[in-house]
Structure formats: C-alpha cells, structure tokens
Symmetry: C2
Subunit: 246 residues, 2 copies
Amino acid sequence: MLNKKIKSASIVVIGNEILTGRTQDKNINYIAKEFFKNGISLKYVCVIPDDKKTIVNEIKRLKKRFDFIITTGGIGPTHDDITAESISLALKKKYLLHKGAYKELVKYYKKIKSELTDARIKMAYMPQGSKLIKNTVSGAPGFNIENIFVFAGVPSIAEAMTKEFLKIIKVKNKFYSTSVITKLFESKIAHILEKAEGLYNDVSIGSYPIFDGKPRGVEIVISSMSNKPNALKVKKFITTEINKII
Amino acid sequence: MLNKKIKSASIVVIGNEILTGRTQDKNINYIAKEFFKNGISLKYVCVIPDDKKTIVNEIKRLKKRFDFIITTGGIGPTHDDITAESISLALKKKYLLHKGAYKELVKYYKKIKSELTDARIKMAYMPQGSKLIKNTVSGAPGFNIENIFVFAGVPSIAEAMTKEFLKIIKVKNKFYSTSVITKLFESKIAHILEKAEGLYNDVSIGSYPIFDGKPRGVEIVISSMSNKPNALKVKKFITTEINKII
C-alpha cells in the first residue's frame, strides 16, 4: 500500500502528566497534521512515564521499525527530565555537554536576564554526536541523534521544533486527500465503501460518523500518498454509488 | 514503588484519524483523569492504525503486561471497524454474534425508528465469551473479554463506557494528590525536588513549568497512590525548603 519513498514515523510522548490526566496532550495532533500535509506517514504513537527503563526499552524497540522517531517531553531542568540521558543509554552513546547547546543557553539566559544555574546547564547535556534542533521560542534546543529527534513537551516549543524538523529532513511527498459528505448513515453505505476500498491499493478510505447525540451522516475521506488520479477515481465511484441509493 | 493492590492499565487507541491528525483524541485524557481519581495506574498508551495485524500484535504484547487493557475505536458498522474481529484473532476466540448485543441493537434502532441493516448487525459480533459494556448513549455496546475492555471511539460514548467500566471492576484505591505553586524557576528548585523525590518511595513528585512565552514559575505536584501521610510530609519538606531560598 505504501510507496517506498514515503517515510514512516512514530511519536514517543514522555510524561507522567499525560498518563495521570493532568495535561491534555496537544503535540500528537499538531505533529500528526504537519506530517500528513508533508507526506510523512505517522504509524505509531505511544505515551510512556518519566521512567528511564521504559524510555530505553521503547526507543530500542521503535528505532528499528520506523524511519523517524520523535520524542516529546522530559528535556527541562528538573529531576524528572531524563529523556536525553535515557536516549544516551538506549543508543550506548556518552551523555555529554554539547558546546553548541551550552552557547545557546548562555545567550538565552543573558537575554532574559536570568541566571544559568547548574540545573539549566543540564539541558545542554545530550548523547555524544547529537545535532541541535533549534528552539526559536525559549533557549534550550532539542537534538537529533541517529533517526531520533528529541523535542520539548511545551506545545509552543514542540510546534517550533516540528517546523525545524521538516526543514532538516526536506521530505517532498504530498498527501492528497478529498472527502464526500452524505446524510446517509454509515451502515447504509458500508457496502459501497468496502467495494471502493478494493479498487486501488494506493488509496485509503476512512468513514467518520457525524454525531451529535444521534448519527447525522458520514464524512468519507479518500486519501492517497502517491496517486491523486486514483483517489479522484475512487471519489467518483463513491459519489455515483451513493446517488444511486438516495 | 507501587502498592501491589494498585491495578495497572494501558489504553490502545485504534484509528487512522488520530494518526493523520484529522481528529484530536479526547479519550486518553478523560480516561486518564478518571483512572487517576479512582486509583488505577495508567502506565502506557499507544495509538495504532485500523490494521488487523497491528491490532493483533499490540493486544498480544500488552495483555500480559497490564491488569487492564482499554481499547477505543473501531467498533462501528463500516469496513474499517475491525477491532472486535482483531481481538478475537489475538485471543484465538471465535468471532460470533452476541445475542444480548443483538437485542440491544434491535431495541435501539426501533427506538430511533431506523433500520437494523447488516452493517449495523456487525456491531453485535464479538469474541466468544464476551460480556457486554453498556452503551447508555447510543445502541451498540462495548465488550469485555479476559482483561480487555473495548470502548467506542466517539468521546461521549467512550466516557459513558469508562463509567460502566469503573462500576464493573469496583476499584477502591484513591490517589492522594496535592500541589505547591512557586514563582521560582524549575532550575532554582531542582535540588529540592531531587531530595524530596528520595524521601519515600511511595510518593511521586512532578514539576510543571507555568509558561506563557516565558517561564513564570512552577507547579509541583505531590501524589501517592497509597500513602497520604507521606505525601503530606513531602509537601511540608518542599514548602520549608522553598521558603529558605525565597
């Protein structure tokens, strides 16, 4: 189904605050939308606690399975910010002060007239060989090592780092996506969608009930990562078949 | 760290619409909050596509690791609703029409004066031996088989099923959680939090920067699943130490 040129990605959200419900995650949705627009196929997301062993295991497990691994969260100055150290462990890299990152911190805290404490300097420690991901919002940069891209958890910073990531990897695919809205219920059109799904293996179809207490109809989304003409043929097929039963 | 009486849980969100960014998931946060209040420890969340093989693999992998597995999504009437069939496969159970579920559907579609089509009847198919999870919002029930609890993806229905789940499992633990807010930056109090973290192994501490363009301070959350007195001692320790440096 997937064009070989299409890169796959996974997001690892690191943070107890998501698992206790204290914080509603916003980064998954933002990154997912940006990836979709830019033709990167987000295949898997997980949310894990601030726990070194868990982070190490997930990074090891996922890095082999996807082209890109994005992590969010756990790169601040406090005791529960252990993402950089855990990734160093997972990749068997030394966990060291990155000179470029340190310079960024010096510059930022000078600008906001605040002290560069030891805890803040910790934010410049990362796996040996990391490249920085620019933080255009606050001082501490993210980093990239192998196929792993480490973003902050604060949404405004994660968004800025997503933009930087897209600049770095320069993916050129574009998804094509179109939709058909009908007042018919999902159950009435299920047989049409099933047939449509079988037409081309590079086109996928999703059906999303419009629901406000009662079902009000369906939005059918037809998308393709590589073949707009086939997506349009599928759209035409669905529209024609629906018109037959209205 | 965890009291043995505390049950662990994982959520498996099933749906391409989350991975393409079309839909912002709301169920993770709702379920996380309810679990936290009711003393269930949510340890892991994943978001996976509507793909049979992926669902089967994740269910097999996670069911051994946690007391409860919650799934959301993929139990509607259309071709991409494959959760029930995939779980049957994962557990090597027959995928059969559940008579009680069928009755619920007959009742509901009679009430809303709509036809019970074949596609809708599909919603009564589930792994052999499943117990129903009541759907107080629309007709089709969720189901429970072994330690797996299958909810709908529509948020109002997922919320109703979460309430039913809590009735079914009757967990009695209560988390205790309290917080301290300070205008000091995370970096200034990191050493205090590190010490506090070491005091009792049944108390956990999270620090959450208050951020609106610039850091404005920190909320420190102190919580325990089983030991309120220790959590209060840790709170007192943190407050005292912070007052020393203000």
